[in-house]
Symmetry: C2
Subunit: 102 residues, 2 copies
């Protein structure tokens, strides 16, 4: 049988992207600045990882303006939410197995 | 407060290395070939990741011979075991938080 680590999705597993998807799982939509602060990232770093997630079809961005200032909202797509749920389940299996929990 | 993803240790978090450390947590010592089969890796790929873990002081290798054939045994060091325990606890926190479990 394949070890759980073999089933991990590299797109989501990367530390920053796992953080992004986890924060998005807690909210319907998150603002770019909120994500940046929550995850303590620079604009460039966050943007780079959002691009990878976007290319995988895991997130979508929406641009709006508040009092003339541009804002970007990010949400997990249905595909992204499913991928995260699967990923967390695989991680849970890996944790339980490593701990010897049946 | 820092999001759990910010506390993840990149050395261990990488998918293959997380697999190696998780398998080693289940056994005192594992043979190179066993690890390779468990994780479905090539010699080169396994070796490359073992090197990273070795440089971090997370694993140690021991060479022996069985009926003249060289064998390599790998075990997690105390430092590596502690790092894995911390890492799994952080992942558990991230999972629970993403699921909305208090």
């Amino acid at each position: 049988m394949t070890h759980p680590s073999g089933l991990l999705d590299d797109v989501i597993h990367q530390r920053v992207r796992l953080g992004i998807m986890a924060v998005l799982a807690e909210a319907d939509e998150a603002e770019f600045t909120f994500l940046k602060e929550q995850l303590e990232l620079t604009d460039g770093n966050l943007n780079r990882h959002l691009q990878v997630l976007e290319q995988a079809g895991y997130i979508a961005r929406r641009r709006s303006r508040l009092r003339g200032r541009p804002r970007t909202w990010i949400r997990a797509t249905k595909k992204g939410s499913s991928a995260l749920v699967r990923h967390l389940a695989t991680l849970q299996r890996l944790i339980d197995q490593a701990k010897g929990t049946p």
